[in-house]
């Protein structure tokens, strides 16, 4: 007997910032199919970019997504600099270091944000509060360098707009030092807690072949064993001048995705420290005035994935075509295979593990194939997830006793 239950998550759920619509088809407890409906955040940015001057576009693209707020302008300026030559040839060296520092700081804040959300989804609200509490010093660092906690306005074609003052560097180093014990705590919590392991392991598995077929990238792919990272494959900034590791896991489940993100934060701290000590003095802006006709592609490793921008110029002061591939475009589509086969209570976790930059996320709807549609609230789905965690806790305690 097959039933369709409609379980909407969100759209306006406390932790789901933007609207996105997933329809899960379930039979009993198992998810058998999923339909994803997006478009609630489509604001026509590509078209708007065609009407803006090259220097005005970074302001626009920064607001594609607030969490990876520096990836989009970085990819855009890389695309224009690709048109002009290569980044290393066009941009002064100090600017490259500053760009790398901003990019890596953003990665830390984004992964901490995700950790908090994942903690909330499985019922560990303390993890949520603490992850976001330790995010605040990172935002303080941003405020010190750029003047704002979230939209940094640092990137321009040919360099960066603000410098890092020498007297600020001790504060930045001290804050990073204070961040590492917090990361140790999160790493211990994730790796050692049996309940988290029981909840996250073998959930939402994306095999290596599926990852290739659905063309996923970023932590989602690295958790499935695909060894790819734009920072290593096509180095931008100063990633080829500092020592760091690419974190790859094999299992492809939510646990692997969590481990990848936690370990990446350590790498980011190390990269920023190296940049702060190696940064040379000098200019931060190449003062580019004209953009000749041509096309360029820029991509950066955003916290979620490869952020891709394509620019076509005809020699005037506006781009005639600007194609943006926001990081979650492919990863969210791959939810189709990751969530199928799991249970409803794992559904939120699987969908969240991909870390959809809720630029295009809405609620999840679970559809039960029957005449009487039972509509469950999104909050019910989260409650289901919490209930499963409690059940797992009990089993473990009873197993021990």
């Amino acid at each position: 007997m097959s039933h369709k239950v409609i379980v909407p998550i969100g759209p306006y759920h406390p932790l789901q910032e933007e609207p996105e619509f997933f329809q899960l088809y379930v039979e009993g407890e198992k998810v058998v199919d999923i339909d994803i409906i997006i478009g609630y955040n489509h604001r026509g940015i590509e078209k708007l970019a065609e009407a803006k001057h090259f220097d005005q576009v970074p302001y626009l693209v920064e607001r594609i997504c607030g969490i990876c707020s520096s990836s989009h302008p970085y990819a855009y300026v890389l695309a224009v600099e690709d048109l002009l030559g290569t980044e290393a040839n066009v941009v002064p060296e100090r600017a490259l270091y500053i760009r790398t520092i901003i990019d890596e700081l953003q990665r830390i804040h984004s992964h901490l944000l995700w950790l908090g959300l994942a903690g909330h989804f499985i019922g560990y609200n303390t993890v949520w509060m603490w992850a976001w509490k330790y995010r605040e010093p990172v935002l303080d660092m941003f405020e010190m360098i750029t003047g704002n906690r979230n939209n940094y306005a640092m990137f321009k074609v040919g360099g960066v707009r603000r410098d890092i003052k020498d007297e600020d560097v001790p504060f930045l180093k001290k804050t990073l030092d204070e961040l590492v014990p917090a990361l140790d705590m999160f790493k211990g919590a994730v790796m050692d807690d049996p309940v988290i392991q029981a909840r996250l392991k073998k959930v939402g598995v994306l095999t290596k072949q599926q990852a290739i077929d659905w063309c996923v990238v970023g932590p989602t792919a690295r958790a499935s064993g695909l060894n790819m990272d734009v920072r290593r494959d096509e180095p931008y900034g100063v990633f080829d001048r500092v020592d760091w590791n690419v974190i790859v896991e094999k299992d492809g489940d939510v646990f692997a995705k969590t481990v990848v993100r936690v370990l990446e934060m350590y790498e980011s701290v190390s990269i920023i420290r190296q940049c702060l000590s190696k940064m040379p003095k000098g200019e931060i802006d190449a003062n580019i005035k004209d953009i000749p006709p041509g096309e360029g592609i820029g991509r950066v490793e955003a916290p979620r994935w490869e952020c891709f921008h394509y620019i076509k110029s005809d020699g005037t002061n506006r781009p005639i075509r600007h194609k943006i591939r926001a990081p979650s475009f492919m990863n969210v589509a791959s939810d189709k295979v990751a969530a199928v086969g799991g249970t409803i209570s794992d559904a939120t976790l699987t969908l969240a593990a991909v870390d959809p930059c809720y630029c295009c996320t809405e609620r999840v709807e679970v559809i039960r194939k029957s005449d009487d549609k039972k509509i469950m609230n999104g909050w019910d789905l989260i409650k289901l997830s919490h209930e499963k965690t409690n059940k797992v806790k009990e089993e473990l305690l009873n197993g021990r006793a």
């Binding site: 759209p11 306006y12 759920h13 406390p14 932790l15 910032e17 933007e18 609207p19 478009g39 609630y40 955040n41 489509h42 604001r43 026509g44 940015i45 078209k47 708007l48 009407a51 302001y59 626009l60 607001r63 594609i64 997504c65 607030g66 969490i67 707020s69 944000l113 509060m129 976001w132 509490k133 995010r135 605040e136 906690r149 979230n150 939209n151 930059c357 809720y358 630029c359 609230n377 999104g378 909050w379």
Partner: protein
Amino acid sequence: MSFKIKALTKSIWVFHASAGSCNNCDIEILDCLTPRFDLERFGIQLICSVRHADALLITGAMSKKSVPRLKKVYEQAAKPCVVIAVGTCACSQHMFKDSYNVDAPLDKILPVDLCIPGCPPKPEAMIDGIVKLVTKLRGKKK
């Protein structure tokens, strides 16, 4: 009516809705609940069902697909309910106002009681805005 408003201002339960936003304002709203700002000590809580809401926090540039749903959410909220537009996109659609996929600004869709501009507005700005609104609402009762 004035009794309801007074009761509302004592401990506001807010419901957050996004109509095509970039997430920044939404994250800053959630930041207000985190230990540094901790709005819950004032009784302000983020709730999950709009039927319990005293205040609607709306962010986003009003994309065409979200506006019908936003209207439905407003209808479901128990009145009196204050509407707060958070962020420049909700106040005036910001740079998206010429886009082909955005609808009218929020104040043409719903009656707005408070605008908190900023891109994104800092948590301090949001708290300041809510305090101003509460003061004004309490003043109305007199």
